[in-house]
């Protein structure tokens, strides 16, 4: 059987490459931040008759909103992203455009002030840190500290890949991004724990076995479960992606990326990573002993 632990460098390199690619995109293109973070208005209109992007833009110019980002949603719907508009301003513009282009139904109108975004970012980071600390504590209690570190390492791997991919694919990021990241963290750790549980059990049964072999064996014993669980979750996510409507498609896309990354990191990063941490710790101890 393929030896995951022996070939672990390949998997580290694959992950590193994807992360570097994502970080590169993050530095050059940045994230496609939605109005939840930047502040602004999103207006979604469904016109009664077919209208072109140009017609909408021309109509917007009457309200000095020609700089807005326009996106056609099909079915005569348009998504218009503008700067922060007051209630009166947005109403005037919506009514004006609707009248000019043969009538329209307002599907949604969202306004987020610039203050909210800053608070949201602060809260999101705080939430991530707190969740990570609590999980380290729990895993240290139930398993051991090094496994907690390896699990959190896998989790940071997933977060970096999600953020990197969000930048690479220019997925619009809104407040649900925080929920997506935390869900993946929960899921990814869940996956890792099942593997660590098997390692814990194998350690009890067979203390003599070489650690790398033992980790590899545990990974393969849980492999069917790892793959099958990802599949069942992916079934739901793919159904939501294709049939769930575009309001949640960004959220679902991020979850799909995260689930894939979470399953990968649990098998190929956290398990072998823990093996490396153990090895380093042992060598240090040996070195310390030799020095003494």
């Amino acid at each position: 059987m393929f030896h995951i632990v022996k070939k672990r460098k390949i998997f580290y390199i694959i992950s590193l490459a994807i992360i570097i690619l994502g970080l590169g995109s993050l530095l050059t293109r940045g994230l496609n931040l939605g109005i939840d973070f930047t502040g602004g208005n999103i207006v979604e209109l469904k016109f009664n008759k077919a209208v072109t992007l140009e017609e909408v833009r021309t109509a917007l110019a009457d309200y000095k909103l020609e700089d807005s980002r326009l996106q056609s949603g099909g079915d005569n719907t348009f998504l218009i992203r503008t700067r922060v508009l007051s209630q009166a301003e947005s109403q005037e513009a919506i009514e004006g455009i609707s009248e000019k282009l043969g009538g329209a139904t307002l599907l949604r109108n969202e306004l987020v002030g610039p203050v909210i975004g800053k608070e949201l970012t602060k809260q999101a980071i705080l939430a991530l840190v707190i969740a990570a600390v609590l999980m380290i504590l729990y895993i240290t209690w139930r398993f051991e500290f090094l496994q907690a570190i390896a699990a959190i390492g896998g989790l940071m791997h997933d977060v970096m890949i999600m953020v990197g991919m969000a930048s690479l694919l220019q997925i619009e990021i809104d407040s649900t991004f925080v929920a997506a990241v935390l869900t993946i963290i929960g899921y990814s750790i869940n996956d890792t724990i099942v593997i660590f549980d098997r390692i814990r059990e194998n350690l009890r049964i067979n203390r003599k076995e070489e650690l790398g072999e033992l980790v590899n064996k545990s990974l393969w014993q849980t492999m069917a479960r790892s793959i099958n669980t990802v599949l069942t979750v992916l079934f739901v996510l793919l159904a939501l992606f294709f049939f769930g409507g575009n309001t949640i498609s960004n959220f679902v896309t991020l979850l799909i990326i995260g689930i894939a990354s979470g399953a990968y990191s649990s098998i190929f990063i956290s398990g072998p990573g823990w093996y490396d941490l153990r090895r380093i710790q042992k060598e240090r101890k040996r070195a310390a002993k030799a020095a003494a």
Binding site: Q91, N109, V112, A127, Q221, T229, V236, F251
Partner: protein, 410 residues
């Protein structure tokens, strides 16, 4: 075959099927939603509605404090009640914010306009100083002058207001005092003489109806604070219904895929897991209904996601049973040790996910809270059904005499 076990199994299957159909399917045309689904409220994003966050600012005349904020809250409550929306949410957030949520209204934009019309009334002198605000107002009544036929709104100030008004008019004889409502000058009359009795009037309306609206506005809404909409999310009813339909459809397709996969891969245990999943869904819906959970779009996503994860516990257990069978154990002991050994893994892995949902719940707002609750309820329920219910059904099935190990995946 042991017919007692077969009968017991059959009874449970029928019972679950009956409960499922009667509690979720609209069988009776007049009762739209039955027990398990009627207690679940749909969020703004699923039925249309509006979420507004208002922020109050200090003005020259009034500072943001508990008293003024409560006054603002009361006024908004009175306005919102006028819409006749069932179960509106009106709550204070932090020091100077108020959140209003109205679900299921046909014209959310209009509602926002009505809510934020918090009629900020002020009287300003020529040099731009605010002398009186809405807080000094006691009453406003519209009337029609019998002689001239002119429509006007008569203002009556409270004690403090009367004093301020008297002083200001005394100091500004021959000058103008502007009456400003929400930043718009309604009137800019010249003060002819000091007015000591605390009465003022605003004229220039085209109809009695218009004057009545202004008087009502002033009475109910004249406030010492200025408010600004800092966050607003309105969803039209069409988009809401569309989102609901689409996610229900997506959910059904996803669940069918899970069902098919579980049967193809795990055979008999897979069938049992699917059955447990149906029980799981019923329990989750019952809990949602009991807790009066507001179901939002992310909430539905979490529910569906938790179904994908709910089978996980069963997958861990079945994989274990397969291993035990391959090791040569009997069916009964394989089932028992499979469950016992998988339990620790299921517990530890789910607790870590629960930690994530707890943090989400604590820090999230609105839809994200709903997402966290849905996920947490799902995880707890799935642990229960996977460990107790599946175990019972699997053991009963083994009791019936179906012992072909191939059916169990070995």
């Amino acid at each position: 075959m042991k017919w007692g076990s077969v009968l017991r199994l059959f009874a449970v299957i029928v019972a679950v099927a009956v409960i499922a159909v009667f509690s979720t399917q609209p069988i009776f045309p007049n009762v739209k939603w039955l027990p398990l689904t009627q207690g679940i409220n749909l969020g703004l994003d699923l039925q249309g509605g509006v979420h507004v966050t208002l922020e109050a600012r200090d003005t020259e005349a009034g500072k943001v404090n508990d008293a003024t904020m409560n006054q603002l809250l009361e006024t908004i409550e009175r306005r919102v009640n006028a819409f006749g929306v069932s179960e509106p949410v009106i709550q204070r957030e932090g020091k100077n914010r108020i959140i209003v949520e109205l679900a299921g209204i046909q014209d959310p934009e209009k509602a926002v306009n009505e809510i934020i019309k918090t009629a900020y009334l002020e009287f300003k002198t020529e040099d731009g100083k605010t002398i009186i605000t809405g807080a000094d107002l006691k009453n406003a009544v519209e009337s029609k002058d019998q002689l001239s036929g002119q429509v006007e709104v008569n203002l009556e100030f409270n004690e403090a207001g009367t004093k301020k008004f008297a002083e200001a008019t005394a100091a500004n004889v021959g000058k103008r005092i502007a009456i400003i409502l929400d930043g718009q000058v309604l009137q800019n009359p010249v003060v002819n003489e000091p007015i000591p009795n605390g009465r003022a009037r605003i004229t220039g309306y085209s109809s009695l109806e218009e004057a009545h609206t202004i008087a009502l506005l002033l009475n109910s809404g004249a406030l010492p604070l200025q408010t600004e909409v800092i966050e607003k999310r309105t969803v039209g009813p069409t988009l809401g219904a569309d989102s609901l339909n689409k996610s229900v459809k997506a959910g059904i397709i996803g669940i069918i895929a899970i069902f098919a996969f579980m049967i193809l891969y795990y055979r008999l245990p897979g069938l049992i897991a699917n059955f447990a999943l149906a029980v799981y869904a019923l329990i989750v819906l019952a809990i949602f209904s009991g807790l009066h959970v507001v179901l939002t779009l992310p909430g539905i996503a979490a529910f569906l996601l938790s179904m994908g994860m709910a089978v996980d516990a069963n997958i861990i257990i079945f994989e274990r049973i397969k291993e035990e069978l391959k090791d040569g154990k009997t069916l009964r002991s394989a089932i028992n040790s499979g469950f016992n050994r998988a339990f620790v893994a299921v517990l530890d892995s789910n607790v870590t996910t629960l930690i994530a949902t707890a943090v989400l719940f604590y820090f999230g707002s609105g839809p994200i809270k709903s997402f966290a609750v849905a996920l947490a309820v799902g995880i707890l329920t799935s642990m229960f059904t996977a460990i107790t219910f599946t175990r019972w059904v699997l053991n009963t099935t083994a009791d019936t005499g179906i012992k072909n190990r191939k059916l169990y995946g070995a």
